[in-house]
Symmetry: C2
Subunit: 100 residues, 2 copies
């Protein structure tokens, strides 16, 4: 739980948006083709489409978010799904509340 590292992730509008969108995938993304739920989050392609940024940029963003433990990736066939790590997000906010 590194406040500085997580704050770096949050210091970019697109990454903040991704986290917000993943809070409610049904409302923000199309359904997946292979599975009928969002239990493991949303695939990279959908996130890329929604942001309008390049595939490599989004992959890099998701990687930085994963390094900060803010999201959890799950591989399903050729897709990688990303979901929020609610525990860490909650711990970060609590940490700010107490320490900051």
């Amino acid at each position: 739980m590194d406040i500085v590292e997580i704050s770096k992730v949050l210091s970019n509008k697109t990454r903040v948006n991704i986290l917000k969108w993943l809070k409610n995938p049904e409302a923000n993304f199309p359904s997946h083709q292979d599975i009928d739920h969002f239990d493991d989050g949303v695939c990279v392609g959908y996130i890329q489409d929604k942001t309008g940024l390049s595939q490599s940029t989004i992959s890099t963003y998701l990687n930085s978010m994963q390094n900060a433990d803010l999201v959890i990736p799950t591989r399903h066939g050729k897709w990688t799904y990303y979901k929020r790590n609610e525990q860490v997000i909650k711990a970060y906010v609590e940490s700010l509340k107490h320490d900051l």
Copy 2:
């Protein structure tokens, strides 16, 4: 209350430390020469000494923190005192709690 702008401030260890130190000036800084309280916060020089960074760097940091509304400056003679803006800090944490 701009989440991205505030997160940028918090994405640097020194700036986070400054905010933490200002939470309890009595414990973290020497007494001021001209006044016997910390009601308006701490002067730039003391903050600079504590960080060990250059005067211009600290001035730039404090300016960015002020632009993000995280601190409030007050001029007392030739000194500028900086104190936390508790309202904005609280609003930011609440905002993360609800929106993030």
